[in-house]
Each structure stands twice: as structure tokens, then as C-alpha cells.
């Protein structure tokens, strides 16, 4: 323990903040809020530092710290960053700070709220920074539980209780499936270590038997899939986000949800590449469910929150499509989509939260023509909605286009439909929202809106919008860092593809190919 990694400090700040808040008297509202802001700001600054100092030319994880914890079963506290998570951690820290900023909307039980918020933030950052399976999962659960409580206690709308149950049950089941899968993976790999780096290396040298791969992979795929609202397990998401307090929706939709995708890229694919190949067809078709089906659903929504909730589910489809392509371009694209969508989802939920506080409804048949009254929030919202339909200049465009290029060769048909979903369906619902809420003549009864004029109030929106634009204009800031790690994952997958040629050549139906895949022994065995 001679030196402590920056990453550890980064994780420590939110937890420290949580402890300080727990110790502070309940009446010190200003102090509580100041602690929350300060601790997230410190995390953000450290995340920026890590991002800037990260050296893309090294393949090994950087800023590593490893402390052995339970030697008997190989659990250690192991954190570090590589190309896969460096951008995600930065994004998480940005969103966390923005979420702390917009939390001024909370009017009751400040102490508990900020405590949970900081625990959630710490858990989120920890989950993405962990290189140990146990802590990876533990931090995720640590972030998930405050989510449920916050929706239940500080949520909004009539559906709050129902939504809380629904999101709790869905996510618990998803997490449980993933947990079973992870434990099974650990055991089948020999049960000696929870360390991801060691596991990946071990499993690429001596892959798991196809039978066990085909047993475990679906557990992880659907477990993680449920956490990311993979179609048709997505119905918790729009409802849950509509009911959640603003900061919770921002953090969950923006960052925590990406945990599942990250798990697929970090664990499931590199450790079980052969099973991944046979299951990716399934994923490619399910992601159409996200992109097209949820896009269509979003078109029909009357409530802005449900609309952006559904559109957020639809956007996850692009990340799934990138993963399903299993090549360098697709995986890089998927990570770009994850980061871009994280920032965008946080921005849209923050804006929707602001509007809701002003209007107390987000039904689009009631609020109309708001732009002249709230030029700042209106303009930022319009930009955010345009970013949501994939406008160049915002980071989302880069991610989506990269995914399309990556997936085109494997799945031309699916990609063509996804392009339709991105350009046309996305355009339709986003522009309809702009048209009804911001354009047109104003509606009676909503003429006492106040715009965000205070620079501090504007800060979170500008921060998120600025990062979207920054990565949209200079995508190489991200892609150059992601590329080497994504390449490593893609290469592992490619090796497996060569060794399992018989599976690839069988262009039968999806189920048939997966059945065959499970029966054909690979040449490596």
C-alpha cells in the first residue's frame, strides 16, 4: 500500500461525502448540499485528470491498484482503467456532478436523499472502475439499491409505487441472472480468482468447454440485457424513469444502465467468444426490437418523460447492434454510443425535470409553445432532442454511424432497418416533441414560466451539452483511447470465429445455429 491510485481517490470522494453527510445534523441543508457538490466535483476533476493522463498506447490497465481481500477464493480490490472504461468513468463523473447540481429540486428529507445519491454515485463509479468480478458486481448492487429507494421516496407521478415495484423486480431478476452467470463462470474457470484480467487471459489460453459456454453466456446475455432494457424486457425503463426523481433518472439512464453493456463487452464476450458468436444473431434481432419497436412506441407517447424514456430504450439498440457485430468498428461504436447516450440521457432527463418543476405536467397535449418564455432551457432542449435524432456535431451521431459501419457487413438487413430507426423514426418523434412543446402558439395557463438565468442553474445543462458537442466535434478524443482495448476484445472474438468455422457457415435460422453450435466441438478442444 505504498501508493494509492487516483482511481481509488476518485471512488473515495463520494463515499467520504456520504459519510460526512450522515454525520451532519439534519438541519444543515446548505452544508449537506455543499458536501455533495464538492465531493462530486472532486471526483469529476480526478476523472478528467485520469482521462487526460491515460496513455492509449499501453494495452494494460493503468492507474491500477490491487489489494488482496479474501485470498481463499481469490477476491481482491482491484481497480484500474483501460480503453473500455476510461471514457465511461469520465462520463459517469460528469453526469454525477450534473446530477448533484440539479438535486436542488428536492424539498424533503435532504439528508437521506444526498446520502443515497452519493452512495449511488460511488457505486456507479466503482462498478466501472473495478477489475475484479466480485467488486464489479458489488458496486453495481450498491448503486442499484439507492435507485429503488429514491424512486419510491422522492419519485413523482401517480404511477410511482407501481413503477418502483416494476423496476425493482426487473432489475433484481436481471442482476440475479447475471450473478448466477458470473458465479458459474468463476467456478467453471477453476474457481481460483475473481480477477477479470487474469480470467480473460486464462480463458483465452484455455477456453471453456462449449457446453459450459453455452450454458453461461445466455445467463449473462439476458441478465445484463434486462439491466440495459433489452427488448422485450424493457418495460420497466420508461415507467421507472418517468417516476424517478431527476437526478436518479439521470444517473440510472445515463450511467448505471450501461453497466450491462459494459459487462457484455468486458466479461461475456472476451471470456466466452465462441458462445458469443452463436448468440450474436439473436442479439442482432432483439436490438431491432429496441430500435424499431420502442421507436414506434416512443412516437405514440403523449408524455414527454415517457417519450424520452422510450427513446432511451431505443438508443440502447444501437449499442447492442455494435456489440453484436463483434468487430473492432462495432465495439468501438458501441462504447461511443454508451458514452454519448449517457451524457444525452442525463441532459434530457435534467431538462425534463426542469420543465416538470415549472409546469407540473409533461403531457404534450397540455404544454405548448414554451420557447419564447424560456429561451435558454428551450434552446438547450431543442438541441438535446436534435442530438437524440442523431444530428452531426453531437457525440451520438459519431457513435451511431460507427455502429452502422461496423454492423453493415455482418447484418446488412438489420443495419438498414436500424438506419431507418435512427434517421426517420427518431426524427419523427423528436421533431413532434419539439413542435408541440416548444413551437407554435403558447397555451393558456402556462405563461408564468421562469427561465434558468442563474449561471449556477445553467451549469449542469451547459456542462452536459458542452461535453456532447466536444466529443461530437472531436471524436478522436474518445475513439483513440477506446480503440486498442476494443481491438483486443474484437481479436479474441475473431480467434474464436476462426476456430468455430462450421458454426459460421451454417446460415440456418438463429435457433438452429445455436443448437448446432452447442453440439459441434471446436477444434481447439
Amino acid at each position: 500500500m505504498s501508493h494509492i491510485s487516483t482511481i481509488t481517490f476518485l471512488l473515495l470522494w463520494p463515499f467520504l461525502g456520504a459519510i460526512v453527510i450522515a454525520l451532519l445534523p439534519r438541519d444543515f441543508r446548505l452544508a449537506i448540499r455543499a458536501v455533495a457538490l464538492a465531493s462530486t466535483l472532486f471526483s469529476l476533476l480526478l476523472a478528467i485528470k485520469v482521462f487526460l493522463q491515460f496513455d492509449a498506447s499501453l494495452l494494460a490497465p493503468q492507474f491500477v491498484q490491487k489489494v488482496l481481500w479474501v485470498e481463499a477464493i481469490g477476491i481482491s480490490y482491484h481497480v484500474g482503467v483501460d480503453g473500455l472504461n476510461v471514457g465511461l468513468i469520465l462520463m459517469g463523473a460528469i453526469v454525477a456532478f450534473a446530477a448533484a447540481c440539479v438535486s436542488s429540486e428536492i424539498e424533503t428529507r435532504h439528508k437521506e436523499y444526498y446520502f443515497l445519491l452519493l452512495v449511488m454515485i460511488g457505486g456507479i463509479l466503482g462498478a466501472f472502475a473495478s477489475l475484479d468480478l466480485f467488486f464489479f458486481y458489488f458496486f453495481h448492487e450498491l448503486a442499484l439499491i439507492p435507485t429503488f429507494i429514491m424512486i419510491g421516496l422522492w419519485g413523482k407521478g401517480e404511477n410511482r409505487i407501481y413503477a418502483t415495484y416494476k423496476i425493482t423486480i426487473y432489475l433484481s431478476i436481471g442482476a440475479l441472472l447475471a450473478l448466477i452467470g458470473l458465479i458459474a463462470l468463476y467456478l467453471h474457470a477453476g474457481g481460483t480468482t475473481f480477477d477479470m484480467i487474469a480470467l480473460t487471459k486464462q480463458l483465452s489460453d484455455s477456453p471453456l468447454a462449449p457446453e459450459s459456454q453455452h450454458l453461461i453466456f445466455p445467463l449473462l446475455l439476458f441478465g445484463f440485457g434486462i439491466l440495459v432494457s433489452l427488448w422485450p424486457f424493457h418495460t420497466w425503463a420508461p415507467l421507472g424513469y418517468a417516476a424517478a426523481p431527476t437526478a436518479t433518472a439521470m444517473l440510472h439512464a445515463g450511467v448505471l444502465k450501461k453497466f450491462g453493456l459494459y459487462g457484455l463487452i468486458r466479461i461475456a464476450i472476451p471470456m466466452m467468444p465462441e458462445a458469443a458468436h452463436s448468440w450474436m444473431h439473436v442479439l442482432a434481432f432483439l436490438c431491432l426490437g429496441n430500435i424499431l419497436f420502442c421507436g414506434f412506441v416512443a412516437m405514440r407517447q403523449k408524455d414527454l418523460l415517457l417519450l424520452i424514456g422510450n427513446s432511451s430504450v431505443a438508443h440502447m439498440g444501437f449499442a447492442f447492434l455494435g456489440i453484436a457485430s463483434l468487430n473492432l468498428i462495432g465495439i468501438t461504436g458501441a462504447i461511443l454510443v454508451m458514452i454519448a447516450h449517457g451524457l444525452l440521457a442525463a441532459l434530457t432527463f435534467a431538462l425534463a425535470g426542469y420543465l416538470y418543476r415549472q409546469t407540473h405536467t409533461l403531457r404534450m397535449d397540455q404544454i405548448k409553445g414554451l420557447l419564447p418564455q424560456i429561451p435558454f432551457v428551450g434552446t438547450v432542449s431543442i438541441m438535446a432532442l436534435l442530438a437524440g435524432c442523431g444530428l452531426p456535431g453531437f457525440a451520438n451521431f459519431v457513435g451511431e454511424v460507427t455502429v452502422f459501419f461496423g454492423a453493415w457487413k455482418q447484418y446488412p438487413f438489420v443495419t438498414a432497418l436500424s438506419v431507418w430507426g435512427a434517421l426517420v423514426i427518431g426524427g419523427v418523434y423528436m421533431l413532434r416533441a419539439i413542435r408541440t412543446i416548444f413551437h407554435g402558439p403558447a397555451n393558456e395557463g402556462f405563461n408564468k414560466m421562469t427561465d434558468a438565468v442563474n449561471p449556477l442553474t445553467r451549469l449542469p445543462y451547459l456542462l452536459l451539452l458542452g461535453s456532447l458537442l466536444c466529443f461530437g466535434f472531436f471524436p478522436r478524443l474518445l475513439s483513440d483511447k477506446i480503440k486498442p482495448a476494443a481491438d483486443a476484445v474484437a481479436k479474441l472474438a475473431a480467434v474464436a470465429r476462426e476456430s468455430s468455422q462450421p458454426i459460421e457457415s451454417t446460415e440456418a435460422t438463429v435457433t438452429a445455429s445455436s443448437k448446432i453450435a452447442s453440439s459441434v466441438p471446436t477444434s481447439k478442444q
Binding site: G152, Y165, T168, T235, P441
Partner: protein, 616 residues
């Protein structure tokens, strides 16, 4: 440099000068005029074929995917650069006068500069992806400008429609790009061109498909049939916007793009392109005959002329297409600005039957408008005659049917334009407003005069030499050759030249006979019901509305109900037993007691671990 000036202006306006109209106008105008002068300077120093033809910088790269941003300078892009900055500059100056009373002029000029930036981005782009990015940006700036008066429902709807229709085209465009990239492995125009030249079958069986998909982009942006419906509605934007974006530059981007990627288009694809162009030009010309809104008449005329250009590309005539694009940009911008001047003078009255007798009251506007009309109708020696004649010649040599259509369209063009002239400017005033109209101020009339110079004289220059390779705009060197050039259409291809003039003359005569002293439109009586069908634009909007309602919206409705009742309802409620039970259990934990939760969680993990460790 030219490219980034407008962007800087746009950012500058947004950040500093949103409230100050004068500063924002000055920034915006300054940027584009400087761009124009720089372009002229560049051409003067380096000629039309600069040595550094292409400069690129890597923007994004992953694996095989390399997206480069660059500047490609060749005659095609330099010519287009001159058009955009020259015509655009005149329109920017005019806007200063037109928008002088609008409180949001700052936002207007910011969007205008954003548009100029994106348009120049398209013009200079060196690769497909860069073009697509700016293509989208042009779409969004057009969206912002059409919807400038967003409080008017019609403007807000029109902007939405324009954006979405363009998105349909972009859908095909992006698929085409993906297809080209997948087969040829590059997105750079230069690399692609040499690859196709080295091996004409490089695209294989996909060639036609890819070509047509890319053409989809042009169909959207240049408003060709069947995606033409957005352009007339786009007239809801301020008139300078209609002139700049929806007449001179943006809509021409489709034609420009086709010329740029011409090497990718094979014979079957070109055939389709030619027919779509021809059909659009005829359809729009017919509709224009029965429109009464001055801007809509011009909008349909733009559609029709764009159809001409697209047809020319389809008939292997990129040079005539670009020539017509250039001349059309100046005279159509002139016509729109003239219309804007009239609209301003009549306090935003756009119905031509409420005008009349404007010739005396607004002489500058009238005479420049007349020059523009003559050029549009293809009357020698105005510029439109030469460019139109080249297209007609092209059609005459390649496809007699399309030649017939083109001549017919020329006749219709002359007819509806002179209908407009006779009704709006001649005769007597038909309303209070038109009786008291005044000429517009100098800041609006001077761009009219400036634009009428190329309108009249651009025909003498010709651009064939530019593309033939020796790099001089063909400004005749001696008086004899100038005259020779003037009469060359008659000596080269007399049939098409005389057919064009004859058609135009016939159209003018017909308009003169029908509308010289008309107080109401006589056509509805002559052709009855057909007239209302034409007036309602062949019900395209209604048909599309129905079509979308029973396809896209129905799918959405279906998905929504499936989502709500099947996935959300049946499946979830089907396991409601467990849900309810778990829910009740959870309610106990909902007290916020975190210790209990953490404890339960730890027990759960421990139990699972024990279970799994015990039975491996």
C-alpha cells in the same frame, strides 16, 4: 478559411450578439462577403486547377473506417463556392433590409451563417462522410430557418415536414454510403474515383442499387418527385431564406452531389435519374400554372428547374447541369428577392390577384424581376437561354421523349412566369395595399441590381471550358468570338435552340392573351375540375398523409398497444403472483432501512456462493 468564417460568425453571434441586430448582421454579412472575395482572390492567384487539389485531416478512424475532413478544390467546387458566396452574399445584405424590424434578427443571422458554413462544407467536402455530415447540418439549418417564425403553426409544421422529408432521402444516402464503403473500402472521393476507373465493375451487382440509394439523398435535398412536397411548404420561412436556401443553394446541393459522385453512377441508374428529373420538371410546371401565391409559383418553378438539372445529369450532362445550376442560382435568387420586395411593400400580401399595377410604383423591382423572368424562360441573350439550351441539346441527342418533355416544360415555364408578371405588375391595382405600395429601400434593391448582372451576362461566359480542362472561364477574348459564342447555340444545334425559343415565345403569347387585362383567372373555366386538382397539387400531401397514417403511424399504434397490453400487461401481469408477493415483501423494505437491505443482500450473495461452491 472561407469555410470557417461563417462558423465563427455564427458562434460569435450566439455567444455575444444575440440581442444586437446590427452587430450580428454585420458579422454575418462580413463573413460571407469576405468568403466571396477570398474565393475570387484564390481563383485569381491559383487559377481553376490549383496544384494542391485536396487537403485532408483525419477526423475519426477505427479499423477500416477512416473519416477524413478535407477541402477539395477543383473547378466543380470552386464554381459552386463562387455561387454560394456570391449569391449568398447578396442575399445576406438584402436580409439586413428585410429583417430590419424583426426583434430576433440576431437568431436569424446566426442560423444564416450556420447554413452558409454547412453549405460550404458540402461544396468543399473531399469524402462521403464529410458530405453526409454537412448534408445533415444543412438540413437542420434549413429547419431552423423555415421555422424561424415558429410561433406560427404553419411555419412550425413546414419546418418539421422539410426536415423529415429530407431525412427520408438521407436514409437512402447513408445506406448508399455504407454500401460503397463495404465494397470499395474507402470514403474518399479521389480514392473511390481511381478505384472505379481502374476497375469499372468494382461495385459489381450492387452498382445500380448503390447509385440509386445515393441518388435518394439528392431526391430529398433537391426536392425531386416523390419527395418534392416539402419545398413549397418551406416558403413559410422569411423570403431571403427562400431565395438563399430553397432556390439558389441548398436545393442545388443534390445536383452538385450527383455531379461530384457521377463516376459511381452506371447506365441504368442514370436512366432512372433522368426520368425522375424529367417527370418532376413537368409535374411542377403544371402545378405552377394554377398557384396564386407569388412565392409558391416561384417554388414550383424551382422544383421544375431542379428537375431539369437532375435530368441533365441523368443524360450524362454534368456540365450543362452545373451551368444551369449556376445561372439558375442567380436569376432565381433575383426573382425571390424581387418577390420579397413586393411582399414587403404590400405588408406581407402574397396573393398575386391582390396585386397589380406595381410596375409604376416599384420600377427597380419590376425591371429586375422582368430580367429574371426572361432569363428563366430562356430568352436569348439572357443567361438562362444558354444553359437551358445546353440541356435541351443534351436531351435532343440522348432521349427524344425527354426532349419533348423538356420543350413542353419550357413552354409552361414561360406561360406561368408571364402570368405572374401580367397579373402582379401590369394592369391596375386590385387592392388598397398595392395601390399604395412604395419601392423598397436601397439595401434591398441594390442586391437586385447586383444579381441582375450575372442574370443577363452569365450566358456569355459559359463554363464548358472550365470542365474541359484548360481552366479559364470562357470570357471571350475578342469581339468576334464573343459574337460567335452568342450565336453558337443556333449553329451547333439549331433544332433545340429554336424549339426552346419557340416554346418560350408560345408560352409568353398565351399568357399575354389570357392575362393581359384579366381580373380573375380564366383557366378554371376552361378546364374545369382539372384546375382544382392542379391547384391542390394533385393531392400529394393528402395522399402522403393517408399513406403515413396507415403505415408508419399504424405500426406505431400497434407497437404501442403490444407494448402496453402484451409485454407490459399480459407477460408481466401473468407472473403477477410472484410480482405481488415480491412487491409485498419489498414494501416492508421500502422504509428506507438500509441496514436491513444490505444485510439481506449479503445473506443472498453468501447463500448463492455457498450453493454454487458446494455443488460445482
Amino acid at each position: 478559411m472561407v469555410l470557417f468564417l461563417p462558423l465563427l460568425a455564427a458562434i460569435g453571434i450566439v455567444v455575444f450578439a444575440q440581442r444586437n441586430r446590427d452587430v450580428s448582421a454585420a458579422l454575418s454579412i462580413g463573413a460571407i462577403v469576405a468568403g466571396f472575395l477570398l474565393t475570387i482572390l484564390f481563383v485569381a492567384i491559383n487559377g481553376w486547377h490549383p496544384i494542391t487539389g485536396q487537403v485532408t485531416a483525419l477526423w475519426f478512424a477505427v479499423g477500416d473506417l477512416r473519416i477524413e475532413f478535407g477541402v477539395r478544390l477543383d473547378p466543380l467546387s470552386l464554381l459552386m463556392l463562387l455561387v454560394v458566396t456570391g449569391v449568398g452574399g447578396a442575399i445576406h445584405i438584402y436580409s439586413r433590409g428585410y429583417m430590419r424590424e424583426d426583434p430576433n434578427a440576431g437568431r436569424f443571422f446566426a442560423s444564416l451563417s450556420l447554413f452558409t458554413f454547412s453549405m460550404l462544407g458540402i461544396v468543399l467536402s473531399s469524402g462521403f462522410m464529410q458530405m453526409f455530415i454537412f448534408w445533415e447540418l444543412v438540413g437542420v439549418s434549413s429547419y431552423l430557418l423555415i421555422g424561424f417564425w415558429y410561433e406560427r403553426p404553419s411555419a412550425a409544421d413546414a419546418s418539421k415536414k422539410a426536415f423529415l422529408t429530407n431525412r427520408l432521402g438521407d436514409f437512402g444516402f447513408l445506406l448508399g454510403i455504407l454500401m460503397v464503403w463495404a465494397s470499395l473500402g474507402s470514403l474518399d472521393f479521389q480514392t473511390l474515383e481511381s478505384a472505379v476507373h481502374a476497375n469499372p465493375d468494382a461495385l459489381g451487382a450492387l452498382a445500380t442499387c448503390a447509385g440509386l440509394l445515393i441518388f435518394c439523398g439528392a431526391v430529398g435535398k433537391s426536392a425531386q418527385f416523390p419527395l418534392h412536397v416539402w419545398l413549397p411548404d418551406a416558403m413559410e420561412g422569411p423570403t431571403p431564406v427562400s431565395a438563399l436556401i430553397h432556390a439558389a443553394t441548398m436545393v442545388a446541393a443534390g445536383v452538385y452531389m450527383l455531379c461530384r459522385v457521377f463516376f459511381l453512377l452506371n447506365a441504368p441508374a442514370l436512366e432512372v435519374i433522368a426520368w425522375i428529373g424529367g417527370f418532376t420538371s413537368l409535374l411542377a410546371a403544371v402545378i405552377a400554372i394554377q398557384q396564386n401565391d407569388i412565392k409558391r409559383i416561384l417554388a414550383y418553378s424551382t422544383l421544375s428547374q431542379l428537375g431539369y438539372m437532375v435530368m441533365a445529369v441523368g443524360l450524362h450532362g454534368t456540365t450543362p447541369a452545373m451551368y444551369h445550376l449556376t445561372t439558375h442560382a442567380s436569376f432565381k435568387a433575383l426573382l425571390f428577392l424581387g418577390a420579397g420586395s413586393v411582399i414587403c411593400a404590400l405588408h406581407h400580401e402574397q396573393d398575386i390577384w391582390k396585386m397589380g399595377g406595381l410596375k409604376k410604383r416599384m420600377p427597380t423591382t419590376y425591371w429586375t424581376f422582368l430580367l429574371g423572368t426572361l432569363a428563366l424562360c430562356g430568352i436569348p441573350p439572357f443567361s438562362g437561354f444558354f444553359s437551358k439550351d445546353e440541356i435541351l441539346t443534351q436531351a435532343f441527342h440522348h432521349n427524344p421523349v425527354l426532349f419533348g418533355i423538356a420543350v413542353l416544360v419550357a413552354m409552361l415555364t414561360a406561360f406561368y412566369m408571364f402570368r405572374l408578371i401580367f397579373v402582379a405588375f401590369r394592369g391596375t391595382a386590385r387592392s388598397e395595399a398595392s395601390a399604395h405600395a412604395h419601392e423598397s429601400p436601397g439595401i434591398m434593391t441594390s442586391p437586385l441590381v447586383f444579381l441582375s448582372i450575372p442574370t443577363v451576362f452569365a450566358g456569355f461566359w459559359g463554363i464548358e471550358g472550365l470542365f474541359a480542362g484548360h481552366g479559364e472561364i470562357g470570357m471571350a477574348h475578342s469581339p468576334e468570338s464573343l459574337i460567335g459564342h452568342l450565336f453558337s447555340p443556333f449553329s451547333h444545334a439549331p433544332a433545340s435552340a429554336f424549339a426552346g425559343i419557340g416554346a418560350a415565345g408560345f408560352g409568353i403569347m398565351a399568357a399575354w392573351r389570357l392575362y393581359q387585362d384579366a381580373s380573375a383567372d380564366p383557366i378554371p373555366e376552361m378546364i374545369g375540375r382539372l384546375s382544382s386538382v392542379i391547384r391542390n397539387r394533385f393531392y400529394f400531401d393528402e395522399i402522403y398523409g393517408k399513406l403515413i397514417a396507415c403505415s408508419h403511424d399504424a405500426l406505431a399504434q400497434f407497437s404501442d398497444s403490444v407494448d402496453r397490453w402484451v409485454i407490459g400487461g399480459l407477460l408481466v401481469k401473468g407472473i403477477h403472483g410472484t410480482t405481488d408477493l415480491a412487491g409485498r415483501a419489498l414494501r416492508l423494505l421500502q422504509t428506507g432501512n438500509i441496514q436491513t437491505y444490505a444485510l439481506l443482500f449479503a445473506i443472498g450473495v453468501a447463500g448463492l456462493l455457498y450453493f454454487m461452491l458446494g455443488n460445482p
